[in-house]
Every structure is written in structure tokens, then in C-alpha cells.
């Protein structure tokens, strides 16, 4: 597959601080690529480099094989949906969408035809004459998308456009964005700090931290096989148990916790040695509220702090070996009442837990 966006060793410095630090990426045509990271990780700077509002200090940007470093934003086959959308308030919806076509000198008759068609595609037929301020948040979102998509860009950049919407609408727009991306077949580069947005919509997710990519993978790989402790911690909910490595066999590490108990999990990387400090990450939904169900399963005694009811996301908060753990509380009747301050057994399949060496050891 040919790639729509190909960057090598991009660096952008502000003073001595590198906001984007040796980022390379390769986005195949027609994919939904997300860059996920906490605020201040450099993802907005990276997006502005791609749009052309800022120039990289080092490295190259290639869009569909063409080097783009010196090309100004208005000449790049790239369009951007801004965080606050930036719809032109002095123009009607139709003029907003037609703005880019007018710049391309598309004749008026064809222009209005294309505007009408793209409005239909985003589900807002016949709203050309409306003023953007008269639309709801979700409708404005779609106009902002239509304004870019009507130009048939090679690459569409989206800068956390769902941030301003309320929760319900955001959930709805997530799915809609995914469908629109499939329908148009345009390559999307989406930046967000919301891991759920990235997981639901993307084909590939790059997790960014301190100006660098920690891991680039499909959402499921990111979730099941994180490559760094940061990814394990940042993507989805996770529990962390720290201890000392006391046993290693067949890719499974055994850890001795402060309480004297031994737990086990899969090694993320080979090379860990007995005696090193390590962290074990285990997802709340991988914890079973029963004693070890099969041989080789890890188990731990914990005391319940409280139960947190949240429908399908209900959890038990418990303490084990001086560390707080969360376990999913199934709502199908398989688990009886969990009383606060009672003792429970937590067990898990070691294949579902991941062990990383502790930083600095």
C-alpha cells in the first residue's frame, strides 16, 4: 500500500526544548490514524507541522511522495478541522463550504452542486443558507468537516474537534466520524488526549509522550500488548503492582510483592533479570473475584475498600500489598454481594498481565 503521509525524524524546537523530537510516521492511504497523548506532549505542534503553519527544524514531510517542507499551507493537499472549528462567522454554511472551491476557481454552478452534495453526505441537506451560529454543536462539526472534505484533500487533519461537545453527542460523533472516514476514503490524522476517541475510531494509534512516539499500533494491540509502561498506564484502565523479580520461565515473570505474596505475568521484553525491581500491569476486567481457577493462575488476597457502582463499568476498589487495585464487578449475578472491608481473592491468567522493568533499574 502506498502511504499518504510519510515523515522522517521530524524535530521542532522551542528554545532548548524539543516539542517534537525525532518523530517518524508512515500513514497508509485511506486509514484513520490517531495521535494520542496527554496535553503538552507535542501533538498539536506536530499537527501544525503537517498543516504547514509551522516548519520543522529537522526532518522531512512527504505527502503522497511529494516533499512538503517548504510548501505553504494554502498549497498543501491537506486540510484541517480546528479544535474550535473556526467556521467563518460572516459567511453562510454554503459560503463556508464553498470558500475553498472559490479559491480553486471552480465555476459557480459546479460549486453549488458540490456544496449541496457534500452537505447531503454529512447529513445536513439543504442547510446552505443557514448561518453557522444557528446550528447545533454537532451540526457545526459536520459543516467543518464538509468544508474540508469538499476539497477532496489527500490528508485531513483533525485537532481534537470533539472536545467542545457534551458527552452524549461526543459518543455519537465518534461513530459518525468513523463512518464518514470510511465513506469518503480520505486519510484522517486525528489528535486527541481522549484514549476512548482514539481507540474507537482509529486503524492505527500512535501514543505520544514528551515529543516522541512510545508505540504505534492498532488499538487492540496497544491495549493487549503495550510496549512501554506509559502506554500500559495511559491507554485504558490498568492496575499496577510493583515487586522484585524472583522467578523467570518461558516468558513468565514471578514477582515478590511487599506483602510476601508472589504473583506472575507475561514479560513485555526479554532481558529482565532475577533480583530486578519490576511493575506488573493487570486490567480490571482481567481480574477474577475468585481463588485461582486453574493451575498457573496468579492470585492475591485483597481487602475491599469500597464498591463503585456504574452499571456495566461497576468496579471493586480493593487494597493488596499496600497498593490500590480496581477489579471489574460483573453485573450478571455471578458474583455475590461484596461487602466493604471483607477479604476477597483476586486471580488472573498470567498471560493477560504484563511485566515491565521499573524505570531506572
Amino acid at each position: 500500500m502506498d502511504s499518504d503521509l510519510f515523515c522522517t525524524d521530524l524535530i521542532r524546537r522551542f528554545g532548548s526544548h524539543a516539542a517534537v523530537d525525532r518523530v517518524s510516521l508512515d500513514v497508509p492511504a485511506g486509514t484513520f490514524f490517531s495521535i494520542l497523548g496527554p496535553s503538552g506532549c507535542g501533538k498539536t505542534t506536530l499537527l501544525r507541522l503537517l498543516a504547514g503553519f509551522d516548519r520543522p527544524d529537522e526532518g522531512d514531510i512527504h505527502i503522497r511522495g511529494q516533499r512538503m517542507n517548504e510548501v505553504p499551507p494554502n498549497r498543501r493537499p491537506v486540510n484541517m478541522v480546528f479544535q474550535h472549528l473556526a467556521l467563518f462567522p460572516t459567511m453562510s454554511v454554503g459560503d463556508n463550504i464553498g470558500y475553498g472551491l472559490r479559491r480553486k476557481k471552480v465555476p459557480a454552478a459546479e460549486r453549488s452542486k458540490r456544496v449541496a452534495r457534500v452537505l447531503e453526505q454529512v447529513g445536513l441537506p439543504g442547510l446552505e443558507s443557514r448561518n453557522p451560529q444557528q446550528l447545533s454543536g454537532g451540526q457545526r462539526q459536520r459543516v467543518a468537516l464538509a468544508r474540508c472534505l469538499v476539497l477532496e484533500p489527500t490528508l485531513l487533519l483533525l485537532d481534537e474537534p470533539l472536545g467542545a461537545l457534551d458527552l452524549k453527542l461526543r459518543e455519537q460523533m465518534k461513530i459518525e466520524l468513523k463512518h464518514l472516514q470510511k465513506a469518503f476514503g480520505t486519510t484522517f490524522v486525528y489528535i486527541t488526549h481522549d484514549q476512548s476517541e482514539a481507540m474507537v475510531m482509529s486503524d492505527q494509534v500512535a501514543v505520544m509522550r514528551n515529543g516522541q512516539f512510545d508505540q504505534v499500533a492498532p488499538p487492540e494491540t496497544l491495549y493487549r500488548a503495550p510496549e512501554t509502561p506509559f502506554v500500559a498506564d495511559f491507554v485504558g484502565d490498568n492496575n499496577r503492582l510493583s515487586g522484585e523479580v524472583v522467578g523467570l520461565q518461558e516468558g513468565i515473570a514471578e514477582l515478590l510483592l511487599a506483602s510476601g505474596e508472589r504473583v506472575s505475568g507475561k514479560l513485555a521484553f526479554p532481558g529482565l533479570k532475577v533480583g530486578q525491581r519490576a511493575n506488573l500491569f493487570i486490567r480490571p476486567e482481567s481480574l477474577m473475584l475468585t481463588p485461582a481457577a486453574a493451575t498457573g493462575y496468579a492470585s492475591l488476597r485483597a481487602s475491599v475498600t469500597t464498591t463503585l457502582f456504574d452499571g456495566a463499568n461497576s468496579r471493586v476498589e480493593a487494597e493488596a500489598s499496600g497498593q490500590t487495585l480496581f477489579a471489574r464487578l460483573p453485573q450478571d449475578g455471578s458474583v455475590g454481594r461484596v461487602a466493604p472491608e471483607s477479604a476477597i481473592d483476586l486471580s488472573w491468567n498470567p498471560q493477560l498481565a504484563t511485566v515491565f522493568a521499573e524505570a531506572g533499574t
Binding site: 498543516a51 505553504p72 494554502n74 480546528f82 459567511m91 470558500y99 468544508r147
Partner: protein, 286 residues
Amino acid sequence: MNASASRLSLCLLITPFALWILLLVLLPHLQMLRVSFQVRESWDTISWGVQQYQNFFSESYYWRTFLRTGLMSLFTTFLTLIIAFPIAWYIAKLARGRAKGLLFFACLIPFWASELVRTYGWMILLRESGLFSTWLQYLGFADGPVEMLYNDVAVIIGLVYNGLLFMLVPLVTTLEGMDDNLVEAGYDLGGNHFTVLREVVVPWAMPGVVSGSIVVFMLTLGSYLTPILMGGKDSAWFTGQIFTQFITRFNWEQGAALGVLLLVLSSVMVWLGLRLTGQSLRKVMG
């Protein structure tokens, strides 16, 4: 009790405003309108008529000055806008922190002095024995003293200088309220500098442009000192004629008629300006 108390406070708040409108705005203008239609037949008899207005149209000097004042005010307003817009853009969008405050302050400084002093400042620079003339001779660009005062260019320089701040303030305010992403979106969707300015920035700044233009136009049309001092005896300004009628000729009837005509001109121009730009007075005046 509560209702009557609030009504009382409303009355107290409105009274000064009502008095001002009535005594200082409405009454003098109505009086002026009345005087403009008086025809003095002898020292103690007065009749009604439009003789003063007929004088205005039949005496070409009057209406030519009237037209010239209107056109030059329009041109001054336009020139002020052209000069003020980049300055306002710089102050609102490019200057940061302290620099922004200092720049605004610098625009305000000239207004510490009265219009008279400001105009004399220009006269010191532009007159025959002034600074510019001396420099031109010193640098060898001129053989003798150059008179740069007492022409229309000098008048317009003075008027633009007087109006600049009143154009800057509304422009900076509207431009500051503009999201920078709008400009970026303008470029991102394929616009160049000119189209982004025409399609995105100017439409956004339009309320500021119109309100600044109205204020500068009215100030220019009604200014007296600058055109008289810098224009010399050949450069006629309509306010100068009104002054002559009232003070020199003691012809209050004619002066009042000319005053009414000036008021009509400025009202019509403001109305036209609002209509042409599609703005409403309420939106423009915030």
C-alpha cells in the same frame, strides 16, 4: 414600596441624560432650524421663508465648499482607515504583553495636547522656514525654502493625524476579538494573503471599520482649527463659512441654514455608509 423605589431610582438615573438630550442636543438644533427659516425684513420684522437655502444653492461658493468639504472628509476617512488598519492589526495580533500596551499608549500621547497645539506641531514641521524645508535644503534636494503648508495635502495630513486614534480604537477592539484560527483556516483552505484579508479579516472587522469611519468622518467634517490653520486662506472648509456667517457677518439666519445643511450631510453620509456595508447602527456602536 419596592416598585416605587425602583421607579424613583430609574427616574434619577434618566434625568441627567434626558436633560442633556433636551437642553444641549434637541433644543439648540430646533432653535437653529427655526432661525434658518427666518427672513429678516427690517430691524424688527421677521417673516418665514427659504431664502437662506436659496442663497446656498445660488451662490456657487457655498455649495462648492460644501461639496469639497464632504469629499475631502470622505477621502480623509478612507486614508485614515488604510493607515490605521495595519497598525491596528499589529497592535491586536502581533504585539505581545508590554509592547501592546506601549504601542496603544504611543497612539494616545498626541491627544494630551489640544488640537491647536497638535496642529501647530505640524506647522512647525511643514512651514517655509520649518524643519522639513531646512532638511531638504541641507541635503541638497531643494535650492530655496519649500512651502509645504497652506495646501490640501497639508490639510489632509493634519486631519488624518487627528482622526487616527478614533479609527484605531474600534479596529483594535474588533480585531482582538477575532480567533487566530479563522485566519489559519483561511489559508488552510487555499486562500492567499489578499483573499484571506478580503474574505475573512475585513468582514470580521467590518463593525469596527464602520464605527471608526463614522467617528472619523464626523470629526473631520466638523473640524475647524486644522483646515483653517493648515489650509490657509485659499483652502475653504464649510465650518469656516459657518463661523464667518455667525461671527464676522453676524448673519445668524444664513449661519443656521448652513449648520442645518452640514447636519443633514453628515446624517445622510452615515446612513449611506451603514446601508452600503450592511451594518446596523446598534451593531456598530456595540
